[in-house]
Subunit: 65 residues, 2 copies
């Protein structure tokens, strides 16, 4: 993956993460409504932020090497 590809992937994931963050925010605000969905929404949100963190580290390494 080129630095350019990596930047595009991060950009795409960032906007998706922004949407998921809002979904989790709304779910938290609406509790106890839909509390059954909480673990699924939290896990999906956690996974995307973990992946973003990893890709950002990778980008930093590529930019400084």
């Amino acid at each position: 993956m080129t630095i350019e590809d990596l930047r595009n992937t991060i950009k795409r994931l960032n906007s998706k993460a922004g949407q998921m963050k809002m979904d989790l925010h709304d779910l938290a605000e609406g509790l106890p409504t839909d509390y059954e969905k909480l673990m699924t929404v939290a896990a999906e949100t956690y996974e995307i932020y973990k992946e973003l963190d990893r890709l950002k580290q990778q980008l930093k390494t590529m930019e400084t090497s």
Copy 2:
């Protein structure tokens, strides 16, 4: 447990759940900051709402029997 005890327990758990809901709401709003804490906070919040749901069902049963 008497109906009175059950009502008090629900009342106490409700206020604790309200606080945890705010913590999860703030964490979601602040993402990606502290994303590592997300699964722990979500699990604790989920457990308390599941327990509240159970106790409210129990209260309904006791009140109508």
